[in-house]
């Protein structure tokens, strides 16, 4: 007995564990034999491979379902529960299904509950409940771990003899090397020559090699890219080349009763006995068809197991003297009710025992190799030459480490008996495969889909070769009998591990972000920006704009300098507004159209001296505008230099009837309406900050946008707020802007528009110079002019206030449109909005109903229709 170092809580019972124990070994030591129930027939399943390859030991650990208990180290206080069985794994009433297999025939999902359609929806819940595959913790947030990237010349997957040899050889060549192993190196190997070789190689490992233990390789992707999933960490490895040394699993054996608890694969039994000091049973029968079976035999005996018989083929491995050997015999059945109690040989002999240890050959863990097409990936050791000797494994690893391609050998086909379970994950028996074959499903891929064999948690690690063998025995050497396609994940992986490192919320901030917070701003998303929605009193913010003076941080606007000798040609051809007569110092409203004539964005084009232009776009459209301009400049081979000045320039809108008064107090430049009229721009200095001032009017009042160096935004903002205190200044946010711009009939792209809106539908024909010979979208607009409008955006006045944004517009009982913007206008004393409406028999209705509220189509702008205020 070893010393207990802690305990786990196993279904309310305290189970002690020893140093080095896994959950599986601790439970087995405590007498647990049934670890789970099979999904269909609810048969008892116990420890089998103990190498992480089979599905028999999946348990729920600390609310996480599907944990391979043979790979999970036991830790103090860990809460462990079994998953299958109703009401419990130990006493499962659903085990009755094991006696009525005809109720769950192969292809069940394709045959049952097809009609009526509701039947499946009802049955699905019952089936999910009955299968008992753990319960996902849906009431907690995912625990996203860390994610990182690792660049290395060589990645070695697998820390066995071949993998370690490959890593050393590659490091000796001066290459950077990373080696990963899903466990701790050597922890699954019982004491003996193999473990001695592993320890020796570890001692000789150069310090430059990055060792990543408890990191499982999930797949091999183009790049190449190999994601490794560790405990709460995702490592994305970008290697120059990959050595796969994942070894081999002991071959799954198929005979009647092959899934009974206490039937073990050889390495599993040896690990239990040799690594954890737990006897798999007291009286064992060993099937010895491999050289390492003799090593297992010694390990079992050393642990105190009485090996009552060895079953070996004629001329097979040499068995130590003093052992009762059944030469030429074959195990045809394992018997027992809850656990194995005896095995039967083909000779008819029955041998009482409480453990059956199967060492019948090796099945390579070659999933990673098979999913790596046309990538610099080679295998080494057992994965390409199952059963190779230690010397062969070392040589194979060295060759792979040095960049060579080690020799492999053909894998012996997996023998398959006449009964027993082929696929342990999905409860698919030999009989099931035979019935499916008889029904006409006759290739590995088709049989897989019909029977679900190979589709469980082990992803065919146990049964993939058996399935291929089953088909090839019947179809001969045709492609039908090849292995099914290997796909990631090669090892079970939690979705939250794959999602590690993607919790970023990418947030753009203006230089005034902290100022807004200090002023009590409530921030809201505006595209990828965080912008002030209001500063606590949207109504007074509105009043400040209409009656006093207000600031708005508009640094988010797209801002572009277009230079180069073809700058004018680009701007003229991309935008539909007239550019020819736009003199330096003047600005013009701009629509950006796509080739179909649909509105993509809007903004201003400002002509600068020297044939340059300064273009602004909407905040959300800046990235698209940059790509759009660059794309057309390249396509037309124009000599244009485009500088996206959005990140380097701040912009503050100063708006309201007192805005000129405010700026005059901080600037010596002329700001009167004659010198600096509406839709013009000038370079001025405000409070010592050089700015390009644009006379604009989105909110419908006298307004100046001050575009200035970002580093001076705070200084400028503070100066304006300070000087404006006596003028009743107050900044406004998006909340107030919504009504301000609506009163002017100004649209919000995407909110008020649809993807197929051309300027005519939006009442923006005036912004399009159709007499220009060319601009993007012109041809489409020309064609559409001949088609009567079926839909257009209009201004709406409502008879009373209600929340109507998004509400359908009716004429009688017919829906003819929708309200896209809605607000209560203080200055008009009315509820107003924008919305699109359809023509009825070629005529647009003027009287509508939004819900129960009457709406009248009204020309825009609602406020200051002559524009006297903004032109002041």
């Amino acid at each position: 007995m070893g010393r207990s170092v802690g305990s786990i809580d196993f279904e309310g019972r305290r189970v002690p564990f020893e140093d080095g124990d896994t959950v599986a070994s601790a439970l087995y030591r405590a007498g647990v034999r049934t670890f789970t129930r099979s999904v269909k027939h609810h048969r008892r399943r116990g420890l089998y491979c103990l190498t992480g390859d089979c599905p028999n030991c999946l348990v729920t650990v600390d609310e996480e379902p599907g944990v391979r208990s043979c790979c999970a180290p036991a830790t103090d206080g860990m809460k462990v529960e079994r998953e299958g069985g109703r009401p419990s794994t130990e006493r499962d009433l659903l085990s009755v299904t094991d006696r009525v297999h005809w109720l769950l025939p192969v292809g069940f999902y394709h045959k049952a509950f097809v009609r009526p359609r509701l039947a499946w929806q009802m049955a699905e819940r019952v089936i999910r409940w009955a299968t008992g595959l753990g319960k996902l913790p849906v009431d907690r947030a995912p625990e996203l771990g860390t994610a990182r990237h690792l660049h290395t010349d060589v990645l070695v997957v697998g820390g066995g003899v071949a993998g370690l040899s490959a890593a050393i050889a590659a490091a000796e060549r001066g290459e950077t090397v990373a080696l990963c192993d899903e466990g701790v190196i050597g922890d699954k190997v019982a004491p003996g020559p193999t473990l001695d070789a592993i320890r020796s190689l570890q001692e000789g490992m150069p310090g430059t090699v990055t060792i990543l233990e408890r990191h499982a390789a999930v797949g091999v992707y183009e790049g190449p890219l190999v994601p490794l999933v560790g405990d709460g960490a995702l490592v994305q490895v970008h290697p120059g080349r990959i050595v796969v040394a994942t070894g081999a699993a002991e071959r799954h054996a198929v005979f009647r009763g092959n899934d009974l608890p206490r039937v073990f694969l050889g390495r599993g039994a040896a690990r239990l006995a040799g690594v954890h000091g737990v006897k798999p049973g007291n009286r064992a029968v060993v099937v010895a068809e491999t050289a390492e079976a003799i090593e297992h035999l010694r390990t079992l005996r050393y642990a105190g197991v009485d090996v009552v018989a060895v079953v070996a083929s004629d001329g097979g491995v040499a068995v130590p003297e003093g052992t009762r050997v059944h030469r030429g015999a074959v195990v045809v059945a394992a018997g027992g009710r809850k656990c194995l109690t005896a095995v039967a040989l083909d000779s008819g002999e029955r041998i009482p025992c409480d453990a059956l240890v199967l060492s019948m050959g090796l099945s390579p863990r070659d999933g990673l190799l098979r999913m790596a097409h046309d990538l610099p990936v080679v295998g080494a050791g057992d994965v390409i030459a199952p059963g190779c000797t230690l010397e062969e494994a070392i040589e194979s690893g060295r060759r792979a480490g040095r960049g060579g391609t080690p020799n492999g050998r053909d894998v012996e086909p997996a023998p398959i008996g006449s009964s027993g379970y082929v696929c342990l994950c999905e409860d698919v028996s030999v009989g099931d495969l035979q019935r499916a074959w008889a029904e006409g499903w006759r290739s590995s891929e088709i049989l897989k889909r019909y029977t679900t064999a190979t589709m469980g948690p082990c992803q065919g690690a146990m049964c993939g070769r058996h399935l291929a063998r089953f088909v090839s025995e019947r179809s001969g050497p045709t492609p039908d009998g090849t292995l099914t396609t290997a796909r990631p994940p090669a090892r079970p992986v939690r979705l939250e591990d794959l999602a590690a490192g993607v919790d970023e919320v990418i947030e753009k901030r203006t230089a005034l972000h902290d100022r807004h917070l200090a002023l009590g701003a409530k921030l809201d998303w505006s595209g990828s920006w965080k912008r002030p929605f209001n500063y606590g009193d949207a109504e007074d913010e509105y009043v400040a704009v209409r009656e006093r003076v207000s600031l708005m941080d508009v640094s988010t606007l797209g801002k572009f300098l277009v230079a180069g000798r073809d700058a004018r040609s680009l701007v003229d051809q991309v935008f539909p507004c007239r550019i020819e007569d736009l003199a330096p110092g003047r600005s013009r409203y701009m629509l950006a159209l796509d080739e179909a004539g649909y509105v993509m964005d809007d903004g201003l084009v400002c002509a600068l001296e020297g044939g340059r232009y300064y273009v602004t776009s909407t905040s959300g459209g800046a990235d698209t505008m940059e790509a759009w301009l660059r794309n057309w400049a390249d396509r037309w081979d124009l000599h244009v230099h485009l500088v996206n000045q959005t990140p380097m320039l701040g912009a503050i809108l100063v708006a309201g009837p007192r805005s000129r008064q405010l700026l005059s107090s901080l600037s010596g430049d002329a700001l009167d309406g004659d010198t600096f009229p509406y839709m013009s721009h000038r370079e001025i200095v405000v409070a010592g900050v050089p700015s390009r001032a644009l006379r604009v009017g989105f909110v419908g009042e006298l307004g100046f946008e001050l575009h200035h160096p970002r580093s001076r935004s705070v200084e400028l903002w503070d100066a304006l707020m300070g000087a404006g205190a006596d003028l009743g200044i107050r900044p406004h946010g998006l909340d107030a802007l919504e009504v301000l711009r609506m009163e002017k009939g100004h649209i919000y792209l995407a909110q008020d528009t649809l993807p197929d809106d051309h300027p005519g539908k939006l009442g923006l024909d005036w912004a399009v110079a159709m007499d220009k010979p060319y601009f993007i979208g012109r041809v489409a607009l020309e064609r559409m002019r001949e088609i009567p409008l079926e839909r257009k955006l209009v201004g709406l006045m409502f008879e009373r206030d209600a929340s109507l944004r998004g509400v359908p517009l009716h004429v009688g009982n017919r829906i003819v449109g929708r309200v896209t913007s809605y607000g209560s206008s203080r200055v008009l004393g009315r509820a107003i909005g924008l919305g699109w409406i359809r023509a009825i028999d070629g005529v647009f209705p003027t009287e509508l109903r939004a819900g129960e509220v009457r709406a009248t189509v009204t020309p825009t702008p609602f406020y200051d229709p002559e524009g006297a205020k903004l032109r002041a």
């Binding site: 860390t146 994610a147 990182r148 990237h149 690792l150 660049h151 994305q236 970008h238 490192g501 970023e504 990418i506 947030e507 753009k508 901030r509 203006t510 230089a511 972000h513 920006w529 300098l561 230079a563 180069g564 000798r565 000599h639 230099h641 485009l642 500088v643 000045q645 959005t646 990140p647 380097m648 320039l649 160096p709 970002r710 580093s711």
Partner: protein
């Protein structure tokens, strides 16, 4: 322990024909065939812009040279483990010494690698975001409050 510190730097952009840029690319970051950035200590932008303009004017009369220092936030990640820490942010493969650009924490960043550390240039609108990401994502990175002047 890797240390993060804000770097005060001047950044000058020069846009010109690729052939013209070839004549002034010494020590500059060639971020596109027709665009390069020249980094320097703070307050050197004006002199740098004048120098670049003078050197390139003969090769491309339409070249654009601008002080774009305000458009960039610059961080320096120095010390042992700086490169490992960078692996938590980006899949970019860092050279021993030199310039790469690409996705860092999902935003576009220019990276100048040098022995012992890295300079990171990110558009200023993402400066605060990247700063937060570095400290949140990279274990063991500490921050030095006092900014330092950029030096190559």
């Amino acid at each position: 322990m890797p240390e993060l510190v804000a770097a005060r730097a001047s950044v000058v952009v020069c846009l010109a024909t690729p052939e013209a840029l070839d004549t002034v690319s010494d020590g500059a970051l060639r971020v596109a065939p027709d665009e390069l950035l020249v980094l320097g200590p703070p307050d050197s932008a004006e002199m740098t812009a004048l120098d670049v303009s003078r050197r390139i004017s003969g090769a491309d009369a339409d070249a654009v040279v601008l002080d774009v220092s305000d458009g960039w936030a610059t961080w320096t990640l120095d010390g042992d483990g700086a490169r490992d820490a960078f692996g938590y942010l980006s899949e970019l493969d860092l050279p021993e010494e030199g310039f790469v650009q690409g996705d860092v924490a999902h935003v576009p960043v220019k990276v100048v690698a040098r022995p012992g550390g890295l300079h990171l240039l990110v558009p200023a609108v993402w400066g605060a975001y990247l700063h937060e990401r570095i400290l949140a994502r990279c274990p063991s990175v500490t921050e030095r409050e006092e900014p330092e002047d950029w030096s190559p």
